[in-house]
């Protein structure tokens, strides 16, 4: 630790204003705060700060994503070997390693492109580099199908960072969740690579699949009128889907980390699940087709519902800020997600669109919650007077 501190102390004069490497100032600062907390105190306003700054908040979210990521890697290998019928003859580590090699390039591309653009904008505007992309960079790979070409990942990341974040003023100013924006961009721009039956399972061109293999996700099967799922497989995550979304168990571990540390809002998670269950129940009551008859709680373990509820809806920037607002916001995400999922045949999964839609309305919800509060208190004041 001492050596690291010495290194930063020594290089600091070199990046001061007017010094030789002044343009590296933001980079220096960025890496310094990765190891240490700045000693500076604020000149006005609040003087006492929690040491949990943006960087550490983001770190915990990344930590919470690790179970989903590791399982996603294993599942990528699992789906591959299952498809070619060699699952029994392949060891655990080769299965995991196959998935690891498939997922790693996607993560690298997402981080290199996203951080590159963030660094460039920070330097250009003379801002400090901040950590806004740390979480988005890992969320983007987790919401993509494993077969997405790398250049598409790069393009979507660039689009999301520039048009989702930088044009609004950078980290903390984005209206929509950047990772979902990246996915939505690909979903509408390259539908053939983002949906259908052939994108979810990694297969080489020479691989021979076993008889009866389809590659379709439970969502696609359900939309086609076959909503029977193996509950245990769906809960543990041994189903085809986007890299990080399949295992409800791994996501649950992440949710526990987020709730215990207070980083993610349990109100949003709970209300999203409540909204989903409510809509599922409602559809069960008025069911006219097999999908609507599917037991309502199955919705929680297939598709991206759990992942969206835990990691996407709770994004503190794009979610509602007020406590009442969080309940409304989460509940409507759940309702709209299931509504799109079951009733709109054009979109097999509704979570992405539901969250982006409610992101748009979050400020409006907050506005009315605050207004209602003011009105209520004014009334009370009048009675007292």
């Amino acid at each position: 630790m001492k050596a690291i501190r010495n290194f930063f102390e020594k290089t600091k004069p070199l990046v001061q204003k007017g010094a030789k490497y002044q343009w590296l100032h933001a980079v220096h600062d960025g890496f310094f705060t990765l190891f240490f907390v700045q000693k500076n105190t604020s000149k006005s306003g609040t003087h006492i700060h929690d040491f949990i700054d943006l960087k550490r908040t983001m770190g915990i979210v990344v930590l919470a994503l690790i179970p989903a990521l590791l399982f996603g890697m294993y599942n990528t290998g699992f789906q591959h070997y299952q498809a070619i019928g060699e699952l029994e003859s392949t060891g655990f580590f080769s299965v995991f390693f196959y998935g690891f090699l498939k997922v790693l390039p996607i993560i690298i591309v997402s981080y290199v492109v996203g951080l590159g653009i963030e660094f460039a904008f920070a330097q250009m505007r003379g801002h400090e580099i901040n950590e806004g992309f740390l979480v988005s960079g890992i969320l983007i790979p987790l919401v993509m199908p494993v077969n997405t070409p790398l250049w598409m990942i790069a393009l979507a990341t660039a689009f999301a960072v520039i048009f989702g974040k930088e044009v609004f003023g950078g980290t903390g100013m984005n209206v929509w969740n950047p990772a979902l924006l990246a996915r939505a961009f690909l979903f509408f721009a390259y539908p053939a690579q983002m949906s259908g039956d052939s994108v979810w399972v990694a297969l080489g061109s020479s691989d021979k699949v076993v008889d009866g293999f389809s590659g379709a996700t439970p969502m696609a099967l359900a939309a086609a009128g076959h909503p029977e799922i193996n509950v245990m497989d769906a809960f543990l995550g041994f189903i085809p889907g986007s890299i990080g979304e399949t295992s409800a168990l791994a996501i649950l571990i992440g949710a526990v980390i987020l709730i215990v540390t207070g980083i993610g809002s349990w109100k949003i998670m709970a209300s999203t699940v409540a909204g989903g269950l409510f809509m599922g129940l409602l559809l069960n009551i008025f069911a006219v087709n097999p999908y609507m008859e599917m037991p309502f709680w199955h919705h929680l373990i297939i598709g991206g519902f759990a992942f969206g509820a835990v990691f996407m809806a709770t994004d503190p920037v794009s979610a509602a800020q007020t406590n009442t607002g969080k309940w409304i916001y989460g509940f409507l995400i759940g309702v709209v997600a299931i509504l799109i999922r079951v009733l709109n045949p054009a979109y097999p999964e509704g979570m992405m669109l539901a969250i982006l839609l409610m992101n748009t309305f979050a400020p409006l919800i907050d506005y009315y919650v605050v207004e209602a509060n003011i009105k209520r208190r004014l009334k009370r004041a009048k009675i007292a007077a």
């Binding site: 044009v167 509408f188 390259y190």
Partner: protein, 216 residues
């Protein structure tokens, strides 16, 4: 009037060049956006639309400028509309006669030139108070400013969305995933949201080059 102004005096040339940059109808005044989003998925309709609007706005400007001292102030809007509508019908007939397929593609948007804000804007703001020649130049300039943006947007949308320019394929078939390559057309470029973002990028580029346009 003591001095006759030269036909292409500096002041008159400014009428032509300003709408191309610092008072562009689309990127600065933000007028005529709907048609700019609707007809720019390919270059050919974009160019035809640009020419049609230029013709209509220039001729309407001249006609209104000639009539400007005889139009009663209280009914001037309806007079302007009659002039524009007549010209648009003429343009529509010409398009149907000579470029029928493009006319089909543009469909209702030729008729909707009548409601294009650029036209009413120029008539109200310029033709009602200026002489015919200046009004004509102003019309040509604004039509060109509108058309230039349409053609730029159409160029990028057709290139990235369909892989061709003015109907000619520029991205080889063998690059496509369906033919064993790696490339795919960006389907979102064909949709209007991406046209809006493309116009946004043009506005961004223009304002970073011409910093006077940045609002505080």
């Amino acid at each position: 009037m003591s001095e006759r102004e030269a036909l292409f005096s500096k002041k008159n040339l400014k009428l032509l060049s300003d709408p191309l940059n610092s008072s562009n109808p689309i990127t600065v005044q933000v007028l005529g956006i709907c048609s700019a989003l609707a007809v720019t998925a390919q270059m050919k309709p974009a160019i035809v639309m640009a020419l049609s609007v230029t013709a209509v706005v220039a001729l309407a400007n001249v006609i209104i400028s000639l009539l400007r001292n005889t139009i009663p102030n209280r009914i001037r809007i309806i007079v302007q509309l009659v002039v524009i509508a007549a010209l648009v019908i003429l343009v529509d007939q010409v398009l149907k006669a000579y470029v029928y397929d493009v006319s089909k593609q543009l469909s209702v948007f030729v008729g909707l030139i009548i409601t294009n804000c650029i036209l009413m804007g120029r008539l109200e703001a310029f033709a009602l108070g200026n002489k015919p020649w200046q009004s004509f130049l102003d019309g040509i300039g604004n039509g060109a400013g509108y058309g230039a943006i349409l053609i730029i947007v159409g160029f990028f949308r057709e290139l990235l969305g369909s892989g061709s320019i003015y109907g000619f394929r520029v991205i080889p078939e063998s690059w496509y995933i369906t033919h064993g390559g790696f490339y795919a057309n960006n389907g979102m470029m064909i949709l209007p949201p991406m046209a809006l973002i493309t116009i946004g990028i043009i506005i961004w580029v223009q304002r970073s080059r011409n910093r006077k346009l940045i609002e505080n």
